[in-house]
Amino acid sequence: MRQLFKDYEVRQYVVQVIFSVTFAFSCTMFELIIFEILGVLNSSSRYFHWKMNLCVILLILVFLVPFYISYFVVSNIRLLHKQRVLFSCVLWLTFMYFFWKLGDPFPILSPKHGILSIEQLISRVGVIGVTLMALLSGFGAVNCPYTYMSYFLRNVTETDILALERRLLQTMDMIISKKKRMAMARRTMFQKGEVHNKPSGFWGMIKSVASSAPGSENLTLIQQEVDALEELSRQLFLETVDLYGTKERIEYSKTFKGKYFNFLGYFFSIYCVWKIFMATINIVFDRVGKTDPVTRGIEITVNYLGIQFDVKFWSQHISFILVGIIIVTSIRGLLITLTKFFYAISSSKSSNVIVLLLAQIMGMYFVSSVLLIRMSMPLEYRTIITEVLGELQFNFYHRWFDVIFLVSALSSILFLYLAHKQAPEKHMTP
């Protein structure tokens, strides 16, 4: 928490508590998976813990957090300050309605269960979470190699940066000279006793059209020019930041650490391409894997390479390690992404809303990753998850994940391609 909020204070204690509680329960879920594989604790007590954990998380995700989000959003709007609670309830009810409607187009309703059962809630939370995961993974899969590989870095020289800075300062000077004229004009008008008030109301507008004082006319003209110049200065500023960032990356890539990451980037890009390829195949051939990669890998080695070893024994250990790695990297990746995102958009006004949004996203992400992790585990361990989560169409979720992953990866490729093409044109110094 301290890390995220280094520069701002989160005043409300409640927000902090909610965030930590969500995080704690999500981690407990992963611990339970690990216990499952290792065989720690009694099987029935594990089942009980699963159920309890799931109930609490769902309660938080569906009821508590959205309510607080709507409460804080409404408090930020000054107009509705008086009837805060009422409006936040209204907002929350709208959220619940859309949440429910979300379930209709998907094949998840089974007539056996009631309205408020766990399966219904999980299925909807799962849909949202899986979409989120797939979007993030798709974008990350494409963005990662793009960032790490120095092949994509444009060549930026010192002169480019200096030229851009000069343009920026020139624009600022032009803005200043125009503002000086405006300030002087305002001062002379004030001294001459003309009141500089904006024409209000219908008659005021008609009067101003008919006979406007020459001073104020000039002012509005100059104001428009100033607005255009200010927009230009903002763009120049952002471009300069971009150039500095690229220059730093170029320098970084020349160090050893940079070269190491560059190498990793090549590997990673191959992995990402493979993943995209697999997703396409899954969709096109309508195939969902029945066995997990570890068992399949072992089977392949046993059958084709003739190496004999105990399948059950090794599969347990390897799957444990693999699942552990997946969990750790996904948590770490999520937290890092969220921290960066948070730094970019935080402000003291909306920090409460942002923390709650993050808690919501994190909870949904973890719930759905539990769903998807089932794929990577051998058969004997899948049973407990299937038992606990009830009758869900797991295959559907995997297909849905693949579809969204593909869509997000392709669109981010397109987006990055456009951004990459557009940028060098601006900085071509003759």
């Binding site: 280094k6 520069d7 701002y8 204070e9 800075e165 920026l168 300062l169 600022m172 803005i175 200043i176 000279s177 503002k179 000086k180 004229r181 405006m182 300030a183 002087m184 305002r186 001062r187 200010e230 200065s233 903002r234 120049l236 500023f237 952002l238 300069t240 930041v241 971009d242 500095y244 960032g245 220059k247 730093e248 730094y343 402000s347 003291s348 006004k349």
Partner: protein
């Protein structure tokens, strides 16, 4: 009439403390209706009468450069911001009275701006911690302004104001506390307006009348060194 002399004053502070509202109030005597995030730098100009009411009265342009962003920004943003810090004649440090962090960050802000112009004296900056040595050779006048005064409850007001008084002493600067949505705080003749006007006069004097680096008669002595370290413990 654009041939008046000019001075450049930086307005620094954390994101969301109210620099843009403050600058708008100072330059156009109106409250800013729709504050939005400042990207890059926005400039505004105030016409100021130096030594008003005396025979030596002269009008100057004061450019207020309102630089957006936070101290924790990426180094590429910091390098770009450094472009605006050239040839600065005065600095206004803005912080939010309701947010303690923003006043603590003022040390880092001032170091960032001053390190551009100071001749390197060989003094190390350790993580931007406050070090009295940094300000010993500083010739640029500083002013500390605290905003959102209206949002502090009456009972807490005294405690907040004493803390701010220590802060202003550390910088060897004047301090003003106000609310940017209420022009009454800077009404002509109020003590805030007098402090502001004195600050601008000092900036103009430093720039135009003391080219040989002479001391202004009556310039306050340097603060005691032990006082600085004693007070910086206050914030931990």
């Amino acid at each position: 009439m654009a041939s008046l002399d000019r001075v450049k004053v930086l307005v620094l502070g954390d994101s969301g403390v109210g620099k843009s509202s403050l600058v708008h109030l100072l330059c156009q005597n109106q409250v800013l209706g729709n504050p939005s995030w400042t990207v890059g730098c926005s400039v505004d100009v105030r016409v100021h009468d130096y030594k008003e009411g005396t025979p030596e009265e002269k009008t100057y342009y004061i450019e207020l450069w309102d630089v957006g962003g936070s101290v924790g920004s990426a180094s590429s943003v910091k390098s770009t911001r450094a472009v605006f810090y050239n040839s600065v004649n005065g600095i206004i440090l803005v912080h939010d009275l309701t947010n303690k962090k923003s006043s603590q960050n003022l040390y880092r802000w001032s170091l960032e701006a001053l390190n551009r112009d100071l001749v390197p004296t060989g003094v190390l900056v350790i993580n931007g911690d406050y070090d009295q040595e940094q300000f010993a050779g500083n010739q640029i006048p500083l002013l500390v302004i605290g905003t959102k005064l209206d949002q502090i409850h009456e009972t807490k007001r005294h405690e907040v104001l004493t803390r701010i008084a220590f802060l202003a002493e550390d910088f060897n600067a004047e301090e003003i506390n106000l609310d940017c949505t209420n022009p009454r705080y800077l009404a002509a003749g109020s003590s805030n307006a007098v402090k502001l006007s004195r600050f601008f006069d000092k900036v103009i004097e430093k720039r135009y009348f003391l080219k040989e680096g002479n001391q202004i008669p009556g310039f306050p002595d340097r603060k005691r060194f032990w006082g600085g370290t004693f007070k910086s413990l206050h914030y931990d």
